[in-house]
Structure formats: C-alpha cells, structure tokens
Amino acid sequence: MTTPAAEERTGRGARDGARLFREWFADLTREAKPGEKTGYVFVMGSLVELLRAFDMRVVFPEITSLQTAVRKVSDEYLSLAEDHGFSPDVCGYVKADYALQLRRGDHPMGRIPPPDIAVLTNACNTYLKWAEIWERLHHVPTVTVDVPGSRGLPGSVRTSPEGHERDRRYVELQIRELIVELERVTGRAFDIDRLREVLGHTNAMGRAWRRMQELNRSRPAVYDAMLEGTIYLGVANAMRGTPEAARYFADLVEEMEEKAARGISPLVDREERHRLIFVGVPCYPIFRRFYQLFSEWGGVFVGSTYMWFASGGLNDDFEYDLAHPIESLAEGTLRGVTSAVDSMLFHDKVLLDAIDTFGADGVVYHPVKSCRTVSTGLADSRRAILEQRDVLCLYVESDMMDKRVVSEAQMKNRIDAFFEGLESRRLRLEAAT
C-alpha cells in the first residue's frame, strides 16, 4: 500500500513536471501578445533555443499529440484524420495533429495556436511529411535543417574529423539561413546575447539530466525510466532553454541524490526485483496500466532508449560554447541528432553498455505501429543483443496512439511469461551462488 510519506518522496518530480506542463499549455492557450509568433518544432533537433532567442511561443506537436493519448481521447482525433483519407497505418502523431489543426487547436489541455513557422530536421522522415501538411493547411514557411548522421554501423564506414567538420559547417550554414528566416517571420533582429543566455540554461539542464541518468545506476534505481522518464522528457523538451527547466532538473537531481543515498526505490509498495531497459516508445493509450504490468512484478526500467533519442541530445556529454553560440549550436545539433538517430538505428553497442552499466537483466522492446523510425529495426536488434548478452528480451508490439492495436490481455500474458522467465532465472542464479 502506498503511504503518504512515500508518495511525497517519490512524487515531487512528477508533480512539478505536471505543473510545468499545465503552465506551458496555459501559455499556448492564452491570446498571443501583439507581434508574438508561434513556432512548431520537433524533439529530435528542435533548435528551440533559436526560437526562444526570438521570444517565440513553441509548440512540440509530438507532445501535444501524445497527450491526446495519455488523456484517452486520441481515438477521436485519429478517426477525424482517417475520415479525411489518412491510412490507419501511418504515424498516429501526425494524424492527431492533423485533426487538431482541423479542430482549430482544440486540445484536452488547452488550445494550441497555429504555426507561423515550422522548423524541423531530417531525424525522422515523417517530420517532413508532417511539415508538408502545415504548408498546405496554413501556408506557413517550413525550414528543414539537414543533419547528416552516422553513415553506418560504428566501424563500418570511414569517419574523419574533417568529415565531421564538413557536416557541422553545413548545419551551421543552414542555421544562419534559419536565423534570417526567423528575423523575417518575427520582424525582430537576432540577438546573439539572448541566444547565449538560452543556451546557458540548456547547458545547466543537460548537466543535471546526465547526472540524473547516472544516478539510476543505484540499487534500487531512483526513478522508472519509462514512467517518470517520460515526464522528465516532456519537461526537458517543452521547457528546454528556460530557467524553469534548469531549476526543475537541479531540484530533481537533489531529490534523486537523496533517494540514492537513502536507497529509496520508485516502487513504493514492493522491492525492486528486476532491472530492465526499455527500447521504443511507451504505450500511451494505457500508459499507467502498461507501467503497472511491469511494476507489479517488481520490474523497474532503469534505462530507456526513449530518454535518449527523444532528449534532443542531452545524453551526450556536450555543452554549448557560449563564446561561439551559433557554431556551437551547430555542433550540438549535429551531435544531438546523430546520437538520437544512432540510438534508434545503431544502438547495439549502447544497449550492451547500458545492460552492463545499469546491471540490467532484461530488455523490453516495444515497437509501435506508428513509428517506423524507432520500430523497424527492433526485431533485428533483439537478435543481436541475445547473441551477445545473457539477458531475457521481451518483444511486444502495439502502438503509442491507436488503441485499436493495443490488446491489454495479450500484452499481459506476454509480460507475465517474461517475468516468469526472469524469476526462474533469478532463482537459478541465486541457487548457483
């Protein structure tokens, strides 16, 4: 049973995160101030710092879309988009947003303003298709920044410092073009000192983010990377580059340090029995239940590739050089997007490292219909991991938006069987020692 004290201990990050989220939605819902513009950006390579330097309001449509699923109304949005011709087989985020645009921004958490500009990278191809929809619906400029990522599995293609610098320079030149476009859209001059300030907040947040991840190596873990990790991710993206986000994560680290020191687990009513790595995107239509299916067995997600690819490069040990903000923003974007894409495509080595450093005994793959970027290679990754580590892997497919392909009963059976396997392995190992 959950005690109030335990709730208090484990719930601060979640509570403050939820408050920041509500404030963010409220800010989007209010009337725009005179001359205030809205930019739409995506989590992988958001370049949100640049938009903040122009004091724009920023919408992350991936987040607004996933919130429709968390709030259990995504089916309304998906059906509206499908009525307009979208296939059941395409990314649910796009469809939810398409419907949101048709409904003039009407969202369960407020009203989302239409874009004045959209900024995207090539980190996901659906970003491109999505932005094309806004071009058609709103006739607004969309700027795609090419971020060339890794050209192959580590070691399979030649890489060189000159090649990296060429890519960085290409990103920088595009960022400079984007700045001109933002000046045009907002009617304001670019203020490099303001960018410096914003990047400074991201630097502080990044440091805290990495420390937080490190702290989850503790036994027991200090947070669940799938449940709480998703809240942290939301704040890290939506508030990136603000003092509020930097403060939130500083507080969070403090909280986690304390939990680590005192051995407090996120599982409030049972002990941590199995340390798991999550690969993919959570099942938002039954988010809480999805989490419980694991936590009931004492399973804790100590790490998650989601917190890696969707964190905008925060996992990378990199800080913006405030003396050279644009050049450094280019470097950070290149590294951040490359690492995000690598974490989806070429993640074998990092998964192996994560298994080792977090002491994980199971890996849960959750490919989703909606997101081929993340899901296409997971079956193959599973094969590769099983060959190289003595862990158990669960591969369970559903969706992060579309309840029609989420079968809770089937999922439960698979998850229970997975834990039975983990339990008997644990008993075997205990007997052997």
Binding site: S87, R166, A379
Partner: protein
C-alpha cells in the same frame, strides 16, 4: 575484371521480334536470381547495390562497378521477416531476403534515409550481411543555398568508399565519360516516355516498365544500345489505337507493383505517364559534362530533377507536380497507388486526393504489394471507375 561496357549481360537476339525481345526482358526483370548480375560477377566485376529511390550511378559506373538498383523482388521470404516488425512494407523485407539468401549481395550497399523504415536498412543489413553497408544522406533541405556543396562533398565521400572497393582512384575524365553514357540513357528514356505519351497503344505500361527496369540490372551502354535499337521498332508496331482512358499511374517510386498488376491496368487504360522507378529518370536533363563532374551531378539532383514523396523541396509541392504530370501527358484521370505500409506513399495519397478533387481530376485510389497475386478485384473496380467516367 569487367570494365564499363565491355561485358554484355543480356543474352538477346536483337534481330528477333519486338514481342520476343520484350518477353525475354520481362523474364530477366522478374528473375529473382539476378542473372545479369551473376554474369557480371563471372567476369570478375564488382557490384554496387543501391536501395531506392535515387543514387548517382555514374559514380559506380566510372569506377567500373555495376550499379544495381535494389528494389525488392517477389521472393519467398525465409529469413528476412524475423528481422523486422509487423508494420513494414514488403520491399525492405525482400531486399534483405535477397542479401541473406545470397541472390543479390553487392560488394557495397548504399541506402538513403528516404523514409523511416528504409533509414533502418543499413543497420540491419550491416548486422547481418558481411558486405559493407552505408547511408548516403541526400539533402532534404533542397532550398538551402548550401545543399549542392554539401551533396557534392557527400558524393566525393561515397566515391572514396567506391575507390576503396575497386582498389583504384577514379579520375574526373572517367566520371565525365560516365556522365555522357548516362546522359544518353536519360535521353533515350525521355524518348521512351514520349512514345508512351504520344502513342500509348504502341507501348503498354507493363512493356515500357520492362524496358525501363532492365536498366537497373545492366550496364548503361548495353541499355542504351537496347533502347536505341528498339525505340524505332516500337514506333513501327502494327497496334491500333483503342478507346481507352489516358491515365497517370502514381505511387511506384519505391516498392514496385507486380508486372501483372500493371498489365491488368493496361487492359483498361493507357498509362501515359508514371513515377515507376522514378530514380532511373530522376535527372530530367543532361548533366553538364564540362567542369567538376561530381558537383554537376549534385547540382542536377537538386535543380533539374523529378519529384517523389520522399524528397522535400519547397519548390516542388508534390500535388502541383502531379497535376503538371497529368496535364503534360494529357491524362484524363490518375491512379493514385501506394505500397502497403508505405508511410510516405500513404501520406501523399491524402494530399494528392485533395488536390485532384480541387482540380476536378478523377482518380482511383489503391494499395498494392510486390508479392500480391490475383488482380480480378482490382480489375473490376478499375473497370467500374473507367465506365463511370466514360458514361458520366
């Protein structure tokens, strides 16, 4: 070792009847054992496989490699499916199957992040096939003033890797010679498509397709000779025009519909233009041979090129490009197809349908899969569509 243009890969009697030649070509195009590639290898030649949609094949050609378009195949998938999730198109699976089974295992495999699914292919390939696999990032910011420079450097990077495979440097003179060969190929393909537009009764879509697709399996010199010999003979065919609807087929940019599906369409319609294997016709004009050949190729990719759902260019909104294709071919209607589970194709269907509605162009929406068999249902639907329009 084979060098450009010296190894005939087709076993054809060019003096035989046009129908017989087309039948032979069809067999080669549909043969999942890739006999032309096998023959090239017997001669000691190296193979560069490039996944859909576009690859600057001149780079491979100039190095004496055979550039082969990897576009899946209607094969039984024994191993590949276990490497993918459920919601993935067929071409990715079958392309991996070809490599796993050894039917098509290039010395260098290049993919492009054309879509979310395909961007994973290099990793899956790399983990399971011993040949090197890599990604070529074609620019999606086609509107940046710096995209051409970037692409030119990226082509040079890939060229370096090609040189590593063949073990020698590739000079600009060789690249220019390749540009000339491919310019000739592009000219002949434009002629092929002009014939389809002007006298579609002489060249139904499934036959035109075979003549196009074979280019992705043989050296371009041989393809050029084949087209140069056949084009005049096709014009002399005794086929008579029939009262069929002129349509554009859209949706064949990546996964390919079965030839039988195209033949089924040809029974009711004249397909006067299409985007089938558009990568082979991506560059719409001659690439200048003077100057830096790699830079010219890169500029052409951005400036004188076709369109597809997987390239983003603000100057080429896809729906406007489709309307231009329809008008340019004097088509009366469009078939808007998409491969099953193809995110970009399915997304584009929505935009196409809305634009065609606004323009008052009738269209027929369908999905296909390279493995599908049995087209009666499609034929009935198509027949009804055509009749409704004819008797409206």
């Amino acid at each position: 070792m084979g060098s450009p243009g010296t190894v005939p890969l087709l076993d054809l009697d060019l003096q035989g009847s046009v129908d017989a030649i087309l039948a032979d070509l069809r067999e080669v195009v549909e043969d999942p054992t890739f006999p032309t590639v096998a023959r090239w290898r017997e001669g000691g030649g190296r193979v560069l496989g490039h996944f859909q949609v576009y690859f600057p094949e001149e780079l491979a050609h100039a190095a004496g490699m055979l550039p082969v378009k990897v576009r899946g195949a209607a094969v039984e998938r024994r191993s590949a499916d276990s490497h993918f999730g459920s919601y993935i198109c067929s071409i990715l699976r079958s392309s991996l199957e070809l490599a796993l089974s050894g039917a098509l295992r290039p010395d260098l495999f290049v993919t492009h992040p054309i879509c979310d699914a395909a961007r994973n292919l290099a990793a899956i390939y790399g983990r399971n096939v011993s040949a090197p696999a890599q990604i070529l990032y074609l620019p999606q910011n086609a509107n940046s003033a710096h995209a051409a420079d970037y692409l030119s450097q990226e082509y040079r990077r890939v060229l370096g890797d090609i040189e590593g495979v063949v073990g020698r440097r590739v000079d600009d003179a060789s690249l220019r010679r390749s540009l000339e060969v491919f310019n000739e190929n592009r000219r002949l393909l434009r002629e092929l498509y002009a014939l389809k537009r002007e006298m579609p009764w002489l060249l139904p879509v499934h036959e035109a397709y075979v003549l196009l697709a074979i280019g992705g399996l043989i050296q371009r010199e041989e393809h050029n000779a084949l087209l140069a010999s056949l084009l005049p003979r096709l014009r002399e065919r005794a086929h008579r025009p029939q009262d069929r609807m002129r349509v554009v087929f859209e949706g064949g940019f990546c996964e390919q519909p079965p030839l039988e599906l195209l033949r089924a369409i040809a029974e009711f319609c004249y397909v006067v233009d299409d985007d089938l294997l558009i990568g082979l016709r991506w560059l719409t004009e001659d690439v200048p041979v003077a100057g830096d050949p790699v830079a010219s190729l890169a500029t052409a990719y951005l400036e004188t090129s076709s369109y597809s759902p997987v390239q983003h260019d603000l100057r080429k909104p896809k729906e406007r490009m489709l309307l231009e294709r329809i008008r340019g071919a004097k088509a009366e209607a469009a078939i808007i197809a998409a491969a099953k589970m193809c995110e970009p194709g399915l997304d584009e269907q929505v935009a196409y349908a809305q634009a065609l509605d606004e323009a008052g162009v009738p269209y027929f929406i369908t999905e296909f899969e390279e493995q599908m068999t049995g087209f009666e249902h499609l034929q009935i639907q198509l027949e009804t569509f055509v009749e409704n329009l004819l008797f409206a």
